[in-house]
């Protein structure tokens, strides 16, 4: 089994595709780290607290988020189809290896290759930071480690998707199209669809009351320099009280509306690995003094998706008819 895994690992790391994409990610990361260091310096001299992982440019759509996803996809889309196309799968299965071992070893090999790539990118980035004289603290190193793990999981999710595409497709081209289809579905369509569904379920947002809010001064007539007339609470208690109630009711309805809408759209975005990845990354940077957002759902979705796709590919591969 280890032989298959080693072979898969060797195939992965020696493939030009892997090297090219890893190289691109490394370059982008080095650039974002360089940018991040400047921002980190500026924030530091301004006396602001900034999370250490911010130097990796976590909010940037380039780097790990986009190219990481591509890397994952491109590493897996032809793993099965290529073997089928070259006929090597038959040869492989004629050896005393179980089918499940084959797919497990493919996954392990890819996972190891991804781990190496991410580890190297992160260590090189840390090296650059040291060159700048920034000494990360222990908690910073832990945060970087967590960042690495999350990124690994993220890229592995797309690997699992493409592996699934590879098991169901007849050839590599179809597999690549299917894999990219899933990518587009999870990255763009699902969030948009979630928004549409939420809108249709919840309906239009509540309208604000026609009266001005009680504490707001009445604006002066345009063009004039008339003094701002402040509504004196003591003068018009009845109207003021009524306006206050109306506004309170409106604010309550508005909050409820957005809460409902977010609940529906979140249900869809939990299926989006990108959304989950970003949500989990941003929770890394936060310090306990701020109220942390609950990312449990995102974590569940983040872990569930690769597992589901891997199980699906596993089942499909085991039942596959090899001609």
């Amino acid at each position: 089994m280890s032989i298959v895994a080693k072979k898969e690992f060797a195939d992965q790391i020696s493939s030009k595709r892997f090297l090219a994409l890893a190289g691109v990610i490394l370059l982008i990361t080095v650039y974002t780290v360089y940018q991040g260091v400047q921002g980190f310096y500026n924030a530091y001299t301004a006396g602001m607290e900034r999370p250490f992982v911010s130097i990796f440019g976590i909010s940037s759509s380039l780097g790990f988020m986009t190219f990481g996803a591509f890397l994952g996809l491109l590493m897996g889309f032809d793993l099965v189809t290529k073997e089928k196309e070259e006929g090597s799968l038959k040869t492989l299965l004629s050896h005393p290896v179980y089918r499940d071992s084959v797919i497990n070893c493919k996954a392990i090999g890819a996972f190891a290759a991804l781990s190496i790539a991410i580890f190297l990118i992160l260590t090189i980035s840390l090296g650059i930071l040291l060159l700048y004289g920034i000494y990360p603290s222990f908690s910073d190193v832990v945060d970087v480690f967590k960042f690495g793990v999350l990124t690994l999981a993220y890229t592995f999710t797309f690997f699992a998707i493409s592996l699934f595409a590879s098991t169901i497709a007849r050839n590599s081209g179809t597999a690549l199209i299917i894999a990219f289809g899933f990518l587009i579905l999870f990255m763009a369509i699902l969030p948009i669809f979630g928004e549409i569904v939420a809108q249709s379920i919840v309906g239009p947002p509540p309208r604000p009351p026609s009266v001005p809010p009680p504490s707001m001064p009445v604006p002066p007539p345009s063009g004039g320099s008339a003094p701002v007339v402040k509504i004196d609470e003591g003068k018009m208690p009845a109207e003021n009280e009524e306006a206050k109630k109306l506004w309170e009711e409106y604010e309550r309805q508005r909050d409820e509306y957005w809460k409902k809408k977010r609940a529906v759209s979140d249900t869809f975005s939990i299926l989006s690995p990108t959304t989950n990845y970003l949500a989990l990354l941003s929770s890394l940077g936060t310090r306990p003094i701020f109220e942390t957002k609950d990312t449990t759902k995102n974590l569940i979705g983040f872990i569930a998706l690769p597992v589901i796709f891997f199980i699906l590919s596993y089942i499909k591969f085991l039942r596959m008819d090899i001609v």
């Binding site: 080693k6 190297l120 090189i124 090296g127 650059i128 040291l130």
Partner: protein, 566 residues
């Protein structure tokens, strides 16, 4: 002419024996008032058969005087033909001081007759008729009441004029513009007089009686006070001018009477002095002028007493020495203190003043200068009449001058001597100085290290120690700082102390240039100096960074070499 004593009686008796004529009067007795001139018509008859000269005489009590008139001429003798009768007028003047009683007067002419004069003072010899018997006035007002006097007796009447008024009221009688207190009324004469009454401003509202009195006769006029000024103050108004007609401002107007008050005249020389009712002596005093006193100024409640214009006369020599800054606080070591003086010659003659300063401590010098920048001193100053001159007094301080308060006296002796006390307060000079060891304000350090800023803190001021010195430093956030010593109870002038400010640079500090502001705050002064701390990256940081990158690539190479081959 009138026989006296026993001789008189004998003559009368002999004459009675030898009566050869008669004297008759229709009137034998009359009533008269003192001073009245009585007229009797006497019929003298010559019973002789011959022409006879008749001597006319009378005997009357002392003070009575009589005269005989015939055909309008005074006569003593008359000649009567035989059996002739003639009527002679006999005027008898009753003395003014005649008592009220009956007097007897004998008249002789050939015979004698007796006239009985009963002198009685009539109860109402004068008819007093005031124009009004009741008047309404405000308290303090003057009122004039015309009074008509008529002599009811047949004699010239001397009338004493007086009046009974309530307390503090005044009165006087005026005949035209002339104040009169006594007058003479001819028999039957009517005279118009004005009684001027000045009411008391403090009189309560109510009815008061004013009783004009002519001799022993009185009448009553009622005066009703409609409004009182009780409790109110009266005012005295005056204007003070010099002989040149210019108003004298800021002249002191001192009123001494029921109370003592001092007021000042305005720029127009005017003063309105409010005083309680009473009689005051008002003194106007002004430097350079002879003072003037106005006595018995009666101030009435609620009334304005206008004293008009008071002219003050200038003194020939009078000057004023004004010090613009009579108390001068000065910090030692910042030059020499200068007082600004102004000499104003307010007399009408020019004057020369010799200037001197007394009370300076040893080694202190002074000089008077005509301008602040001048370095030449003057000892005498000539000031023209009506002019002023600015003079500066510079006190030259010795190097060892001690802080403290010095009372000095400036004298200007001329025809008019002046002296002013000035106070010079010398304060110590509080100067703190910081000198870093080696003169370096820039320190290089590494993160995680302790930086020591060592410096000498000096009191380079003069004459005064800086107390309660607290030493602290302002460092970037996250840096810890301590000073040794952090407190100094007193730093004497010229003394210095070595201070070490230690700051710990946190290990996560980014390499950059940082500022450390060292502060030394004392009770009197404070000092702040800025040090620069350049934090450099740890010397091994670049090495480690480079190594990490190289190792990463090596690892990749090893993996590639190991697995890259089929």
């Amino acid at each position: 002419m009138v026989p006296t004593g026993n001789v008189k009686i004998i003559v009368i008796l002999l004459a009675a024996l030898l009566i050869v004529g008669s004297i008759e009067s229709d009137v034998k007795g009359v009533n008269a008032v003192p001073g009245e001139v009585l007229k009797f018509w006497l019929t003298i008859t010559n019973d002789y058969e011959t022409k006879t000269s008749v001597k006319l005489s009378y005997t009357a009590p002392e003070g009575f005087s009589g005269k005989f008139f015939y055909n309008g001429k005074e006569v003593n003798w008359i000649q009567l033909d035989a059996k002739e009768s003639r009527i002679i007028e006999f005027w008898l003047e009753v003395p003014r001081d005649a008592e009220e009683k009956e007097y007897t007067v004998w008249v002789y002419a050939l015979d004698s007759t007796t006239l009985r004069i009963k002198v009685r003072m009539p109860e109402t010899s004068i008819e007093i008729t005031p124009s009004f018997s009741g008047i309404r006035v405000e308290a303090g007002e003057k009122v004039t009441i015309p009074i008509e006097l008529k002599n009811k007796v047949n004699t010239e009447l001397e009338v004493n004029l007086s009046c009974t008024v309530p307390e503090n009221w005044t009165w006087r009688y005026l005949d035209g513009e002339t104040e009169v207190y006594r007058l003479i009324l001819k028999p039957g004469e009517t005279r118009q007089l004005n009684l001027e009454i000045e009411t008391d401003s403090q009189a309560d509202v109510g009815e008061y009686a004013v009783k004009p009195k002519m001799n022993n006769q009185t009448t009553e006029i009622l005066v009703y006070i409609t409004k009182t000024h009780k409790g109110e103050k009266g005012k005295v108004k005056l204007k003070v001018v010099g002989k040149d007609g210019r108003a004298v401002e800021s002249a002191q107007v001192r009123a001494v009477g029921a109370v003592e008050e001092t007021f000042m005249t305005s720029a127009e020389g005017e003063a309105v002095v409010e005083l309680p009712q009473g009689v005051y002596s008002i003194e106007v005093i002004k430097n350079g002028y002879f003072s003037k006193e106005i006595k018995d100024v009666e101030v009435k409640a609620g009334k304005v007493k206008d004293l008009g214009t008071i002219v003050l006369e200038k003194k020939p020599y009078y000057s004023e020495l004004v010090v613009a800054n009579p108390k001068l606080s000065f910090t030692l070591g910042t030059g020499n203190p200068t007082f600004r003086l102004r000499m104003e010659n307010k007399g009408y003659l020019d004057d020369i003043f010799k200037l001197k300063v007394y009370g300076l401590p040893e080694n202190f010098y002074y000089r008077f200068k005509e301008s602040q920048e001048s370095v030449e001193g003057v000892s005498e100053v000539f000031v023209k009449s009506g002019e002023a001159k600015e003079i500066y007094l510079e006190v030259i301080l010795p190097y060892n001058a001690e802080p403290g308060s010095y009372n000095l006296s400036v004298k200007a002796d001329g025809n008019y001597d002046m002296e002013k006390t000035i106070i010079l307060v010398l304060r110590g000079e509080y100067v703190l100085r910081l000198e870093p060891v080696g003169g370096r304000y820039l320190v290089t350090a590494e993160p995680g290290k302790v930086v020591e800023l060592r410096f000498l803190l000096m009191n380079s001021g003069r004459g005064a120690s800086v107390t309660n010195l607290r030493i602290d430093a302002e460092v970037p956030s996250g840096w810890s700082v301590s000073a040794e010593p952090s407190q100094i109870s007193a730093l004497m002038p010229g003394d210095s102390v070595m201070v070490t400010v230690s700051t710990v640079i946190p290990s996560d500090t980014l390499p950059s240039e940082y500022k450390v502001k060292v502060k030394a705050e004392g009770d009197q002064t404070s000092l702040q100096e800025e040090f620069k701390v350049v934090v450099k990256e740890k010397s091994n940081a670049a090495l480690i960074g480079g190594a990490v990158i190289v190792i990463s690539f090596l690892v990749l190479l090893v993996i590639y070499r190991k697995f890259g081959r089929r």
